[in-house]
């Protein structure tokens, strides 16, 4: 008997008798042509006892340097936030962990109500009236907003600021190659903010959507008003990617009149997990509700007039509309979105402001204290970019000190070859920031020669 199955020899005999065959092979031989049957065992190792799998996975995990092993200033899209214990306690409940999509609403009211609450929280944070029940993750949500704009406007061009996450820009280009759209990138200005004039100049009558990010990839707080105005002048949709936590203190994209706000939800109570799973969010103006991608939960009543929730507006979706669907997405990231809404309930109306203010103050403190040349000298939150004269040396010294200084900008931004992106969360204390600053200062001393070994192969 293999792991997790339960048919005994007696069961097997009884079941085969009921089917009316002498053996299972009889079924396979009658149904699967000889030439496509595998005539050998799979070339995989034999199965292992649970304790051996446990130990094997433990050994692999031990070869990773994680955020408890070092003080990490890495961010660039995913962040080392504290995840409160009540999230673990709730999302490991089998009633949330093991059901499928709520196709039978009578026995899925828990999951459906969670979606409704999630949609409300995202709607509040983004300042937009409608939200779906979540997307795969951030960058593919950006690309999906592009697809919505293409359906809505029938136009063929996207204009995207270089301040949008490099993974989002690349994902949009990947998707756009499929449905035949062109992606035009516009530059950042000398202060690491989107160059509004260049953006305005790139928008034409064939532009379906304009994409910006708040705060942008470098942590710059963008001046959304003029960007939205520039984007809208020819009737294009304006899509803003946003980090949900700083929205606790930043004026929400919705109040600047953006059409769609999307983003990566990891920072809301989700693990880092080496990049996934997390969730994406997708909020929009009311007029797009019948074209939005993904699941949407709606309130209704049951046969006895009691309040209940269902998946709604399903005529947008692939299982009903097939080739006429507004997107091919099948599911939401329900469990990750649940972690998100629990996290936002835990923070609460005041907490989300307090946490964002703490990040804001520590971000500015860190930038001051590091004392390096600023790539984006204007207002920043949660992240900032600086030039480090001896970047390799800093990384080598920092590694010895148990510190990961941040993300090297060179691969994505050759113009910032010596750039370092430093991320700040509520876990990065003043003491830790001061330690990083000391390492940076040491590097500027010409007598101190660091190891020049690069870290990124």
């Amino acid at each position: 008997m293999s792991r997790y199955t339960s048919a005994t020899d007696a069961d097997r005999r009884e079941m085969l008798d009921a089917i009316g065959v002498g053996s299972l092979d009889e079924i396979f031989e009658s149904e699967i042509p000889e030439e496509v049957r595998l005539r050998r065992p799979l070339d995989l190792p034999p199965g292992m006892a649970e304790q051996d799998v446990n130990d094997h996975l433990g050994k692999l995990a031990a070869r990773n340097t994680h955020c408890d092993d070092e003080v990490s200033f890495l961010g660039a899209g995913m962040y080392d936030h504290y995840v409160p214990a009540l999230i673990d306690s709730i999302i490991t409940r089998s009633e949330f962990l093991t059901p499928y999509t709520p196709y039978q609403p009578e026995i899925s009211q828990g999951g459906l109500q969670v979606m409704f609450e999630f949609q409300t929280a995202i709607s509040e944070l983004t300042g937009l009236p409608v939200s779906n029940a979540s997307m795969y993750e951030g960058p593919s949500s950006v690309a999906s907003a592009g697809y919505l704009a293409k359906l809505e406007t029938k136009r063929r061009r996207f204009v995207i600021s270089r301040g949008v996450h490099p993974h989002s820009r690349e994902t949009l280009a990947t998707y756009a190659a499929g449905f035949g759209s062109e992606v035009v990138e516009t530059p950042l200005d000398d202060a690491g903010a989107t160059d509004v004039e260049a953006l305005a100049a790139a928008v034409d009558d064939d532009t379906a959507a304009v994409f910006v990010q708040q705060p942008n990839f470098l942590g710059t707080v963008e001046d959304l008003g003029p960007l939205v105005e520039a984007g809208k002048c020819t009737g294009a949709l304006v899509v803003c990617a946003a980090d949900p936590l700083p929205l606790g203190i930043l004026e929400p994209p919705g109040s600047f009149g953006v059409d769609v706000c999307v983003g990566e939800g990891q920072s809301l109570g989700n693990r880092l997990d080496f990049g996934g799973p997390s969730f994406g969010f997708f909020a929009a103006q009311e007029r797009y509700i019948r074209k939005m991608p993904g699941r949407i939960a709606g309130e209704t009543v049951d046969a006895e007039g009691r309040r209940g929730f269902v998946l709604t507006l399903q005529t947008r979706e692939q299982h009903i509309r097939r080739e006429k669907a507004t997107h091919n997405i099948c599911t939401s990231q329900a469990l990750n979105a649940l972690a998100g809404v629990i996290y936002l309930s835990w923070l609460g109306k005041r907490g989300v402001v307090e946490l964002a203010e703490l990040m804001l103050r520590r971000t500015h403190y860190a930038r001051e204290t590091l004392g390096l040349e600023r790539i984006n000298p204007g207002p920043v939150v949660r992240e900032f970019a600086v030039r480090v004269p001896d970047l390799d040396g800093l990384f080598a010294r920092a590694r010895d000190a148990g510190i990961n200084p941040g993300y090297r900008l060179g691969r994505d931004y050759p113009e910032y070859e010596d750039g370092l992106l430093v991320a700040i969360t509520e876990r990065r204390t003043k003491t830790q920031i001061d330690q990083l600053a000391a390492l940076c200062t040491k590097g500027s001393d010409p007598l101190s020669v660091g190891d020049s070994r690069g870290l990124t192969p």
Binding site: A18, A61, T98, E106, S123, S131, L250, V310, K349, P379
Partner: protein, 500 residues
């Protein structure tokens, strides 16, 4: 507080001004006014209306909600095409290890060797199971894998200087197939179904032109039937220069028994949340890796996980992210895919090994055929006839036409009445080809008694309907709510809590 009221309140309706669960860390840097750090226009004027609730009440709220969900750990869940098999508990433990859960995706590959090795090993195992050597773990779900497959197809044809416009899908296909075709900029051409439930080969031959980029197929198909003409189908499509895409939704039927690569497919997606035990989570997360043949490999998404031989005479191989892929279609998402899912699926493959994976598929087929036999007995079969009378693979499809005509109850009524028997109903009204369809997939992890109970429940519902069809028509009765007004919900959508 009445539970009847309390049970339907949202977290917002539990909110009271001034309550809180979160205590912020101490401010250890200068208390600079926000107005000195942000421009006036950027500062939020109206706070986001998030709930104000204490920790004990948050816990009670979500625990109360959880009790209104039916889940796989509690009962039988034969939802066709979804492979609701047991989710081993070990997987949650190993996925939660800090070396996995607390690992930043941009950690230097040199310092994430365990994670990259795990991914590389999983790629190898999936490639072997599919019979296709090159794997990308990046797609986030089956539908995302499908999109990847068609973008790869497009890149492959364009690389050869060809522009093609059509993608063939059988009329039994999952809805995601045609939806993906449109999203990838192609036109859907439907291929019919033959009397034996497989692809209508003559229809295919007629529609397979030089303008066809790809055929998307599920095998066994959504009727649970293995297409015996698969080699011929492959040769027709390859004959006109198209690619063959395998929707891996039904891979649980054939692990170690038959491989898509050996059938002639060029591109396969896996649903790690179906075949490889990632818990469905109420609708996600999933993960949809793809495996491809040599000719498609140059176009795979980047970065790829690669194993590099040790340099300078060092014997130790190491693992890396390869971004230098000039013909790649590019990224499909951020970072490297749903790593947390990879951990669980890799643990599953380690636990079962080659023999165990094959046995899992064998038991899935045994369970499905046994349940099909039970439901084919007198008293049931005349009301719920089999759509196609052959041995099935891991699932099968019944038609509720008999019950509708003779008993006056629809498939929907049977599904709702099953809720009162404490089992999850099958997938209903799919595939579209079958009237009043019930698509049943028991999976290998169900013991015989659960299947017996399900068959008895179906029989009891039909017998009850013969006496009084009104009972089923108004079911369910024992659930937290009764049938819900879905039409009303769509007509006047209320998709968020009104906040004062």
């Amino acid at each position: 507080m009445s539970e009847a009221v309390g049970a339907t309140r949202t977290i917002y309706e539990r909110s009271r001004e001034g309550r809180r669960a979160f205590a912020p860390p101490v401010l250890d840097v200068p208390d600079v006014p926000v107005a000195d750090l942000l421009p006036k226009g950027a500062i939020r004027r109206t706070p986001a209306e998030l709930p104000e609730v204490s920790e004990p009440e948050i816990v009670r709220h979500y625990n109360t909600l959880s009790k209104k969900n039916f889940d796989l750990d509690t009962g039988f869940y034969p939802l066709g095409s979804c492979t609701m098999k047991h989710n081993p508990k070990l997987h949650e433990r190993v996925a939660a290890l800090p070396g996995h859960a607390r690992l930043h995706p941009l950690q230097d590959p040199e310092r994430a060797q365990g994670a990259l090795e795990l991914m590389w090993r999983l790629q190898g195992a999936l490639g072997e199971i599919a019979g296709l050597p090159h794997v990308s773990l990046q797609p986030s779900a089956g539908s995302h894998g499908e999109l990847a497959g068609l973008l790869l197809t497009r890149a492959y044809h364009e690389d050869r200087g060809q522009e093609r416009h059509k993608v063939l899908t059988p009329d039994t296909a999952h809805g995601t197939n045609p939806a993906t075709v449109t999203m990838a900029g192609y036109e859907v051409v439907k291929v019919g179904t033959a009397p034996d439930g497989g692809v209508d080969v003559d229809d295919l031959r007629e529609k397979a032109t030089e303008d066809v980029a790809c055929l998307m197929l599920t095998n066994p198909n959504t009727l649970g039937l293995f297409d015996r003409n698969i080699r011929e189908i492959a040769s027709i499509v390859h004959g006109v220069g198209g690619t063959l895409y395998y929707d891996g939704a039904n891979l649980n039927a054939v692990m170690g028994i038959s491989r898509p690569g050996d059938m002639g497919f060029d591109i396969v997606h896996f649903n790690l949340h179906k075949t490889f035990t990632q818990p469905h989570g109420g609708g996600g997360p999933g993960s949809g890796p793809i495996a491809v043949s040599d000719r498609i490999e140059p176009f795979l998404p980047r970065p790829q996980i690669v194993r590099r031989e040790g340099s300078n005479g060092s014997a130790d191989a190491w693992f890396d992210l390869d971004h230098e892929r000039p013909k790649s279609i590019g990224r499909l998402r951020g970072f490297h895919g749903n790593f947390g899912v990879f951990v669980r699926s890799y643990a599953y493959i380690c636990s079962l090994g080659a023999d165990g994976l094959r046995e899992a598929s064998e038991m899935a087929v045994l369970n499905a055929n046994y349940l099909k036999a039970l439901l084919g007995r007198e008293g049931i079969a005349e009301h719920l006839p089999l759509a196609f009378d052959r041995h099935c693979m891991h699932e099968f499809v019944l038609s509720g036409t008999g019950a509708k005509e003779k008993l006056g109850i629809k498939t929907l009524d049977i599904a709702k009445r099953l809720l009162d028997h404490e089992v999850h109903p099958p997938t209903v009204y799919f595939p579209l080809l079958v009237d009043e369809a019930l698509m049943i997939e028991p999976t290998e992890t169900e013991p015989k008694e659960r299947l017996d109970h399900f068959a008895a429940a179906v029989r009891a519902i039909l017998e009850e309907a013969a006496e009084d069809p009104e009972v089923a028509r108004h079911a369910p009765y024992s659930t937290p709510v009764r049938r819900l007004d879905e039409a009303g919900a769509a007509k006047r959508p209320v998709v968020r809590q009104p906040v004062p």
